[in-house]
């Protein structure tokens, strides 16, 4: 279960960021922001291969004591960042991948909505619902 999920636009501003409310959300915001550097580094590392070979799932961006940050970037340079609590039973990689896949699918659905202007913050109940299922159930 994620502690914080964020969707960052191509221009590196957040389209959607949501954290488990019990904790200091600003901390997560900061974490996500700093993770963008790692994301940039990873996607630039591919070089010429570009999207063909560059995998969308970036994997663990960096771990800290408290939590781990995973990244995922789409072909349109929209980034998804998931922050999970390290204390949790470590989620398997494929679970993280599945979470990203669901995020991506929901994001695609949001994009398909003609009433959504790309670049707006994502205000979709369906998207929120999907994210809620992935967040840590607040105790």
């Amino acid at each position: 279960m994620a502690v914080c999920i964020a969707v960052i636009a191509k221009e590196n501003y957040p389209l959607y960021i949501r954290s488990v409310p019990t904790q200091n959300e600003l901390k997560f915001h900061y974490t996500v922001h700093t993770s963008l550097d790692v994301v940039e580094e990873k996607i630039s590392a591919v070089g010429k291969a570009m999207a063909d070979q560059r995998e969308l799932y970036l994997g663990l961006l960096y771990p800290t004591e408290d939590y781990k940050v995973y990244g995922y970037v789409t072909n349109s340079k929209v980034k998804f960042v998931i922050v999970v609590d390290s204390s949790n039973a470590s989620l398997r990689d494929n679970e993280i991948r599945s979470m990203f896949r669901k995020l991506h699918n929901s994001f695609t659905d949001v994009m398909c909505n003609p009433f959504y202007n790309p670049g707006d913050t994502i205000r979709s109940k369906a998207f929120d619902g999907m994210v809620s299922t992935m967040m840590v159930q607040t105790s």
Binding site: L91, E95, V110, P114, F115, T133
Partner: protein, 795 residues
């Protein structure tokens, strides 16, 4: 008759009631059922009703004229308020509440929007309508004022009916009352064009109008016991005044626009709102009138009911409803079931319904209500609907939903009455006149659904070679050129037994493939498959599961594409067919890769040629492919033909096929080959004619065609000399021994046909590829859904 002075509200109310009762539009109401129902709904003892009738003079006249009707209504009000019935009381009683009518039946739940905003203004309805807090009386008053001038205009309109809902009903009762009224109204409405609904609905989409505001107030509460409006006020009434019932969002503007919001229109819109909001029993059910309205609206955007509305067009359309973008976005999310960024008819109706509901004050649901979900199976049109589920193979609801789209399409087509009346009035959307753009957009959308494209998913076909081939031949013959494209595809299924399974999952394909699947075993008739293909085409727009379901009812198998393969199909296929035909036929014929197989022996090709010939002989079709087939073998087998007598057919078939390949390959000497071929064709013709149709049927055509094509490519000549031959060949479809001249013509014709087939097949191939991609995407999405459903183990 005593003079009757009515307040404006009463006037309006009564006029609406009168219109409601005046089904014949004769300006007088007989003591027919509606009037009686109305009076019964007044919950007065029968003797009182009788007395009223006498008093108003209807007994004397034998019918209710307008004045009599009004008098009767007023007397009802008098009686309901407990006053003795006196003629004098008509004018003497001041502040008489409006007569209350309680509809007993349970009609559709109606969002009885305040059809009579003015009535609401009267305050006597206060208890009834829990208006949204924002809606002050002010607006109502303004509306009321506005209404007055409108009242006269209302009168002439015959269609406004008014299931009288007692405004005095206590709120708990009112919903029920409304519902009843709604039902009653809808019953009456059904008779009239339910245009009203449309009109009402779209009024919101106009600039807010005072009437609309008031109406919207009523709508918000959904408890408005609009005494009068029940029926779908004819849009004529409504639209000219262009009352908008919706925009509760713009109360201020309402007042500004108060010019002509006739109550009629308001009520009409309320009616519509009510009906569209669907009552409490099933808040999300779409009434028939509503659906008709939606369908008409759909048509204005996209004339083809089976095609999509692209997202942008839908956005424009729904933006006119003045709902906040956020809500519209949510509505879109709910209604775009297959998440394809476009709305099919069902999706559009659902979205529209949700918009109307929202306008009426209903909160948007979190999930799409069941009644709004695109139905999998069309209720009426069962021809195509079938349990494709097994074929479909996927459980996701979107998938299931999509199949319904196509079946529902036919049913919708069948059930649509022509709401001309409404159409004109629905032209309120001036903005929507940009439909031309959308239409153009649709064209692109429609393209895939074009029946002619005949995207036929490969369908596994249990082949009894001879029978299948026969059928294919027949199909080819009988089918139009349209079906031709499919035929090659159809030919493929046998070989790709696995692919059909996949195909079923494809959306589009499912329609077609489903057909194929269900009918794979039985090639029945040509026309049926063709039609089924056509219908499937309709569902092409993303309703594949539906199509599959449709197909389940065993429609005749889609016309098998001509056995000959297109260029893309490997030559091996043809050869395989030939070989297979000779040997035991296997359903899952190996799908050879398109790579050119080594040329078989000439004997084989000649064999195929003979096989083709026999095909020709078999099929008395006049279409292209069959004719091509015979030509091709002959065409290809120039040298070999000579070598072979008309005798051994199997060998001939096999030979022909491989021979065709070599023929194609050889770029040099097509000319001489041709000439030789013509001769050999003659021989072949005779030989083939004698050959029995065997399993060779299927394979031979393919190589033949290809050969012909290659021939064409190789040389540009030939046509002139062949023309004669071809002409004669074409003329003689039946198994007839051909002369050399005929062969030439046939060859040329077959060459042409092969070319056409080639292009068609190439197109089909690309379409199939696209379908495959879509299918894979769908599969991925389904997997995601599956994961969603599966609870996280660790999380």
């Amino acid at each position: 008759m005593e003079s009757l002075t009515l307040t404006d509200v009463e006037q309006k109310y009564y006029s609406d009631l009168f219109v409601y009762c005046d089904t014949d539009n004769t300006k007088k109401v007989a003591s027919n059922g509606r009037v009686l129902d109305l009076f019964r709904a007044a919950q007065l003892p029968s003797e009182v009703v009788l007395q009223i009738t006498e008093l108003c003079g209807a007994t004397r006249l034998g019918h209710f004229g307008r004045s009599q009707f009004y008098i009767a209504l007023k007397l009802i009000a008098v009686a309901q308020s407990g006053l003795p019935l006196r003629v004098e009381s008509l004018n003497s009683v001041k502040d008489l509440p409006l007569p209350r009518f309680v509809v007993a039946k349970n009609e559709q739940e109606a969002r009885h929007t305040a059809l009579y905003p003015d009535l609401e203004n009267q305050g006597s309805y206060q208890g009834v309508i829990p208006r949204p807090p924002g809606r002050g009386q002010v607006k109502k008053v303004s509306t009321h004022e506005v209404i007055q001038p409108c009242v006269p205009t209302v009168e002439p309109q015959p269609d406004t009916t008014s299931p009288v809902v007692s405004p005095h009903h206590s709120p708990p009762l009112s919903p029920q009352a409304w519902r009843k009224h709604k039902r009653q109204a809808s019953g009456g409405n059904v008779e009239r064009q339910p245009v009203v609904v449309a009109g009402a609905v779209w009024t919101p989409f106009r600039d807010a109008q005072s009437g609309a505001v008031v109406a919207s107030d009523g709508m918000w509460s959904a408890h408005s016991p609009p005494p009068v409006q029940e029926s779908w006020v004819s849009l004529k009434d409504i639209h000219p005044p262009s009352s908008s019932t919706l925009p509760p969002m713009h109360p201020s503007s309402v007042q500004e626009n108060s010019s002509i919001r006739t109550l009629a229109s308001a009520t009409a819109s309320n009616e519509i709102q009510r009906q569209s909001s669907s009552g409490y029993d099933d808040p999300w059910k779409i009434t028939d009138e509503q659906r008709q309205y939606y369908i008409n609206q759909f048509k204005t955007i996209q004339p083809d009911l089976n095609a999509f509305i692209p997202g942008s067009a839908a956005k424009e359309f729904f933006t006119k409803s003045k709902l906040p973008i956020l809500e519209l976005s949510h509505i879109w999310e709910l209604s775009d079931f297959d998440k394809d960024g476009a709305l099919t008819l069902d999706e559009f109706c659902a979205a529209f319904h949700l918009v109307v509901a929202r306008k009426n004050g209903y909160d948007l649901p979190e999930k799409l209500p069941e009644s709004l979900m695109p139905k999998l199976i069309d209720l009426d049109d069962s021809a195509e609907v079938s349990d494709q589920a097994p074929d479909v193979g996927y459980s996701g609801s979107p998938v299931e939903v999509t199949p319904n789209k196509s079946p529902s399409m036919p049913s919708l087509n069948q059930t649509w009455p022509d709401l001309n009346q409404g159409n004109e009035q629905w032209e309120t959307f001036s903005e929507r006149s940009s439909s031309s753009q959308t239409l153009t957009q649709f064209d692109s959308n429609i393209a895939p659904a074009d029946p002619d494209t005949a995207i036929v998913h490969p369908v596994p076909i249990r082949m009894t070679p001879s029978k299948i081939h026969m059928q294919e031949m027949e199909l080819k013959r009988t089918g139009s050129d349209h079906t031709h494209p499919t035929s090659p595809l159809m030919a493929k299924p046998p070989e790709h037994s696995d692919e059909p399974k996949l195909a079923t999952t494809l959306k589009f394909v499912s329609a077609n493939s489903g057909d194929a699947y269900s009918s794979s075993d039985s090639y029945t008739s040509d026309q049926d498959p063709i039609t089924s293909i056509v219908t499937r085409q309709r569902s092409h727009s993303g309703t594949s599961p539906e199509g599959l379901k449709v197909v389940a009812a065993p429609p005749p198998p889609p016309p098998r594409p001509h056995p000959s393969h297109s260029r893309s199909s490997s030559l091996d296929m043809n050869r395989t067919f030939a070989a297979v035909s000779t040997g035991p036929q296997q359903a899952g014929v190996v799908t050879y890769p398109p790579a050119v197989p080594p040329r078989p022996l000439p004997t084989q090709t000649s064999g195929t040629h003979s096989g083709h010939r026999s095909d020709e002989g078999l099929a008395a079709h006049s279409t292209t492919s069959p004719q091509q087939i015979p030509e091709q073998p002959n065409f290809a087998d120039f040298s070999q033909f000579q070598a072979f007598a008309a005798a051994d057919q199997p060998g001939d078939d096999g030979d022909k096929q491989p021979e065709s390949l070599p023929v194609e390959k050889s770029s040099d000497g097509p000319g001489p080959l041709r000439t030789i071929k013509s001769d050999s064709q003659e021989e072949r013709a005779t030989a083939i004619v004698n050959t029995t149709k065997g399993p060779i049927m299927a394979p031979p055509p393919k190589p033949v065609r290809r050969r012909l094509k290659s021939e064409d490519e190789l040389q540009d000549e030939a046509p002139p000399p062949m023309s004669n031959v071809i002409a004669t060949v074409l003329a003689t479809q039946a198994s007839i021994p051909r002369s050399l001249g005929k062969d030439k013509k046939a060859i040329q014709a077959s060459i042409r046909r092969n070319k056409e087939t080639n292009t068609v097949l190439a197109r089909l191939n690309s379409e199939l590829q696209q379908q495959l991609k879509d299918l894979l995407e769908e599969r991925i999405s389904l997997e995601v859904q599956l994961e969603q459903l599966r609870p996280f183990s660790h999380l």
